[in-house]
Symmetry: C2
Subunit: 68 residues, 2 copies
Amino acid sequence: MKTRIRELRAKTGITQEELAQQVGVRRETIVFLEKGKYNPSLKLAYRVARTLGSTIEEVFIFEEEDLA
Amino acid sequence: MKTRIRELRAKTGITQEELAQQVGVRRETIVFLEKGKYNPSLKLAYRVARTLGSTIEEVFIFEEEDLA
DNA sequence: ACACATTGTTAGATATACCTAACAGGTGCA
DNA sequence: TGCACCTGTTAGGTATATCTAACAATGTGT
């Protein structure tokens, strides 16, 4: 799964650390999310999206394989 | 977290078992989701939403506390 | 009342999201 | 050069989503 986290972070000018704090997770978690290295819980995805001023389906980009 | 799974299932006339099969999880998982008893992974939420012909943010209803 | 489909619940096992701590590489600025 | 700040990575631990299997409860039609 790809994400627009980095892009949206840049747009709002916040760091991984700041995003992590606002969302309530560790910075490493943001790093992993940003790189698509794991599949977050729905609530976490929601908090990230809202903190970035966006929606889940705009921040997280699903692929064919995610439906199978 | 509340969901509209049961409502949408009724609308499309499919059972928990059928939804589970289409989504690729066990029926118990659907039961728990439907009752808001746990916080699914983002990909699972996506598959459930698509299978019900809807979107994540329409199927899963977030509350204040989900932002904290 | 009886069958049958659907839904609900429980308990134990497994996978993995997420935490914690620590360190390394890059970039900009004094 | 040297110091901050930001980012990336790694390893071990904890919590919990999901699986499996089995059974109970409820509903629905005959």
